[in-house]
């Protein structure tokens, strides 16, 4: 019954490198609203899958982008985004589907 959930978790983890590259490219721009939405979207799923370290790393980017949006968006690209992305890459590199609390909550099917 939970095979699809496992597949979703695996698909999410497999897609993380591409997501991070997209986010990294966005963080080179001043489109802070788009950075915020993208980080929020990836973070929201990390949260629902129970990948807490990943969620925290994405939250840092979302919060920084939101601060730029709320400040009017006129500020230059914040170099701190590069640090956030570097940390995100480190965290994501260690993420495995089995780290997900949702994965752990799925009963192991009978062999």
């Amino acid at each position: 019954m939970s095979d699809r959930l496992r597949q979703i978790i695996e698909s999410y983890c497999d897609g993380l490198p591409d997501e991070i590259e997209r986010l990294s490219a966005l963080c080179q721009t001043i489109d802070f609203e788009q950075i915020r939405f993208s980080a929020h979207r990836v973070k929201g799923t990390a949260r629902s899958l129970g990948l807490e370290a990943l969620q925290d790393a994405l939250l840092a980017i979302e919060a920084r982008a939101r601060a730029h949006v709320e400040a009017g968006g006129g500020a230059p690209v914040d170099e701190a985004f590069a640090v956030d992305i570097a940390l995100l890459r480190i965290v994501a590199a260690g993420v495995q589907p089995r780290d997900s609390t949702l994965w752990k909550s799925i009963a192991t099917p009978a062999a």
């Binding site: 979703i8 939405f37 909550s105």
Partner: protein
């Protein structure tokens, strides 16, 4: 009381849409249709109205609140109940969403095995309030 059979879910994240589809469709035996944006939902719901809509709040271009307002302005959609599914669901936010016309607010992260029960409870409570 009309039983809940058909729900629509609106979320910009593809994995979240799949999780909602499993949670409500596979675990809850509901018919589920998903949309990746408020605009897509408005078009899809006009063609095929669901009994209940689960709306993400923070989406690009058209937020959950924008989508709800647009639904309330469209004759064919104005009576479809909306439940917000959001990480931003403290009591103040929930009050704001209800004041805007939302039936209820479900907090993210969702529990995939329990979501269908939560949604059915919201649906049944609303029906009982309407009947009394």
């Amino acid at each position: 009381m009309t039983a809940l059979r058909f729900v629509a879910c609106v979320d910009d994240d593809p994995h979240m849409r799949q999780i909602l589809d499993v949670a409500l469709g596979e675990f809850g035996a509901l018919r589920v249709v998903t949309y990746d944006s408020g605009a897509a939902a408005l078009a899809g719901l006009a063609a095929e109205p669901a009994q209940l809509v689960l709306l993400d709040m923070l989406m690009p271009h058209m937020s959950g609140l924008d989508t709800l307002h647009a639904m309330r302005s469209a004759a064919a959609l104005r009576d479809i109940p909306v439940v917000f599914v959001t990480a931003k669901a403290d009591e103040g936010d929930a009050e704001l969403y209800r004041a805007a016309g939302a039936l209820a607010v479900v907090s993210k992260p969702i529990a995939p095995h329990r979501l269908h029960s939560q949604v059915r409870e919201i649906w049944n409570n609303a029906n009982e309030r309407t009947a009394s």
